[in-house]
Assembly symmetry: C2
Homo-oligomer: 219 residues x 2
DNA sequence: ATCATTTTTTAGATGGGTCTAAATTTTTAT
DNA sequence: ATAAAAATTTAGACCCATCTAAAAAATGAT
């Protein structure tokens, strides 16, 4: 069995591997986990001993198949719980991360499976991130910046590039959130701002600056 | 903030105080928590330092108002989650304890409150135990043994006196479980066995031995 | 009342996860 | 190529929750 801490390390390694190509560094992990490099080194030795990571001193770290399996399962649970919180308990999508950070460590395969079924085997969480299925497979749809979309195209908001509270709050006030379906009605040449239609009715005008920070999947 | 372990100690003290009158002993706690007396003593000193318990060496322990509040809140969360697991995820009522032992430690007042609302502000968990409300108040209905009920009386199964897997399995097979409404149709003098009606239709014959281990609330 | 038994506490140690400070290795700059 | 800087690891410590073994207090039996 793996402790909460071990699971959090594996999850962090997984996420850092996604971005950077090549191994994950000690300092990157320390920053991601709000801890010190020395603590990271200690934990890496432990995870290495458990065959959950490939670790070479002064070089970096990556996941073994076993380690990736643990990480993906934690991510699966995190995203299922986030969706539960938003869809069933009506939390706002920007409120659920902290709580899901705790729920993701609950151990019960049966629970995870039943939660998945209760939610209708969803493919995406409230932030638009894909939910791994119970075999660890992830639908990884191509994601674009809203600012790159063409006139008269359709898309679904899948997430944000800027996670700052200020931007999330702005989105909320504008009435935009993950899962929302958009049509790019027009793009103003002058300032590259966008004329959008939300759903089938609401018209929204969005600056290029804002559109650059919104991630979408094409429809 | 209190650790999982601290919460489990407080919960155990609360439950032992309910049964025994007078203070809870170190050995009783050690047995309840599957640990050693020495470990219990250490933790009692710590909880005492936090003003969560009243502790006197070689004598025993009870809860302060603050400690009781924590314990009751943990119990509230445990029972809400158990009900969620049974009612929404369709676990059997005898499968949920382990999972709820983990879920009860999730920290978020808002989550607990929303879960409560999602479940319709329930008064009892799937085992028939009362769920404390968000102010810590517990409906403590008078509970009787089914074997003590009179002919032609009505009651609701609220729990069991015998928690052995064998008995729980027997109940399941007989079609009885917490929340079930019963009418005592007749009591056979000869062996004190009972003729019951479950709901409005199903007839059940139950031995005195079994009836002695079923807890009910009068209707 | 006193001695044996039981219960509880203390003392000292361990493993998990963290830290600071110092040492070591790698990278970068000149 | 070598010195300075940066990144990483080691060494030694701490707190938490636990343990075993031994000491101390309470209880019980005669």
């Amino acid at each position: 069995m793996n402790s909460f801490t071990e699971e959090n390390y594996l999850k962090a390694i997984y996420k850092l591997l996604e971005g950077n190509h090549g191994p994950v560094t000690t300092n990157a992990l320390a920053e991601a986990l709000l801890t010190r490099a020395a603590s990271v080194t200690d934990m890496l030795k432990k995870l290495s001993g458990k065959k959950l990571i490939h670790y070479r001193r002064y070089y970096g770290v990556s996941l073994t198949a076993a380690g990736r399996k643990v990480a993906v399962n934690v991510i699966r649970k995190h995203r299922l719980w986030e969706l539960f919180l938003v869809e069933k308990l009506h939390f706002r999508w920007d409120e659920v991360h902290e709580i899901a950070e705790q729920l993701e460590h609950i151990i019960s395969e049966e629970l995870t499976y039943r939660l998945d079924r209760f939610l209708g085997y969803p493919k995406f969480d409230p932030h638009g991130d894909p939910i791994p299925d119970r075999n660890g497979r992830i639908v990884q749809p191509r994601v674009f910046l809203l600012s790159e979309m063409e006139r008269k195209s359709y898309c679904v908001i899948s997430g944000v590039a800027d996670h700052s509270p200020a931007f999330l709050h702005f989105l909320d006030k504008t009435g935009l959130g993950p899962g929302d379906e958009l049509k790019v009605e027009d793009i103003i040449e002058y300032d590259r701002s966008m004329q959008l239609v939300l759903g089938r009715k609401k018209k929204i005008h969005l600056s290029y600056e804002a559109a650059k920070n919104i991630l979408v999947r094409k429809k």
